[in-house]
């Protein structure tokens, strides 16, 4: 297990959570490499082929009335709300697997898309398409789950 192999380098680190987090990054990369090796990786070159995204836009490329983004208020205020993070978690779980993985590597673990693509052996454009979709899904999900409840 990579968790045990990494144990030695853990000595003196700041905490159990940090240690687990470091392992998680390798786990996610491993899972994706494995998927790719077995040919289950679906390249996503086509921007226009995602129902969940299409539902947010009209045919002419403008926002659907029901999906128009509204203000989330000040970021600092949002980050201090426990409820925001609960909704954020729930929305991450609702993402398709590969979208959640690439988004986690990029935004939660701070890897560059260049690094992610080198690690996974996919085209950088592919990463950008996946991230674009992940962000659109997340924003719609968070807005529904968080904002609408806050103002209710």
């Amino acid at each position: 297990m990579s968790a045990i192999e990494k144990n030695e380098s853990f000595a003196g680190r700041s905490g159990y959570e940090t240690w687990v987090f470091g392992i998680l990054k390798y786990k996610i990369l491993d899972a994706m490499r494995m998927q790719k090796r077995h040919g289950r990786w679906q390249p996503l070159e086509d921007e226009d082929d995602d129902d969940a995204i299409d539902r947010q836009f009209q045919q002419n490329g403008r926002w659907q009335e029901s999906a128009r983004p509204s203000s989330w208020g000040e970021p600092e205020a949002a980050f201090e709300t426990e409820h925001f993070w609960q909704v954020f978690d729930a929305c991450m779980i609702a993402l398709p697997d590969n979208a959640a993985r690439v988004f986690s590597l990029r935004e939660l673990m701070g890897l560059s898309t260049d690094d992610i693509c080198k690690e996974l052996g996919i085209k950088e454009n592919n990463c950008w398409v996946i991230l674009h979709r992940a962000r659109l899904r997340l924003r719609a999900c968070i807005e529904q789950g968080w904002l609408k409840e806050e103002t209710a």
């Binding site: 680190r13 700041s14 959570e17 940090t18 240690w19 987090f21 470091g22 990054k25 921007e47 836009f57 002419n60 490329g61 403008r62 926002w63 128009r68 983004p69 509204s70 203000s71 989330w72 970021p75 949002a78 980050f79 954020f88 990029r106 935004e107 939660l108 673990m109 701070g110 560059s112 898309t113 260049d114 990463c127 950008w128 991230l131 674009h132 962000r135 659109l136 997340l138 924003r139 968070i142 807005e143």
Partner: protein, 73 residues
Amino acid sequence: MMMCKGATRLMSLKQDRPLTFREQISLRLHLSMCGACRECDRQFTLLHEAGEKFVQEHDPDKADDPQQDEDEH
């Protein structure tokens, strides 16, 4: 003329690499006319900041140097 859907592509891209001059201009032009997209742009930035906050608190490789990611671009 770029529509909202195309504008969100650039807003997302902006979080991952610097936009080219041409991309910046067309995004700015669209945002100047579209309130919904300005909110979306703020939301993508907020998602990015939420991630950064999370990284700084948890990631052993980045915890000592939160600027590292910026320097790579």
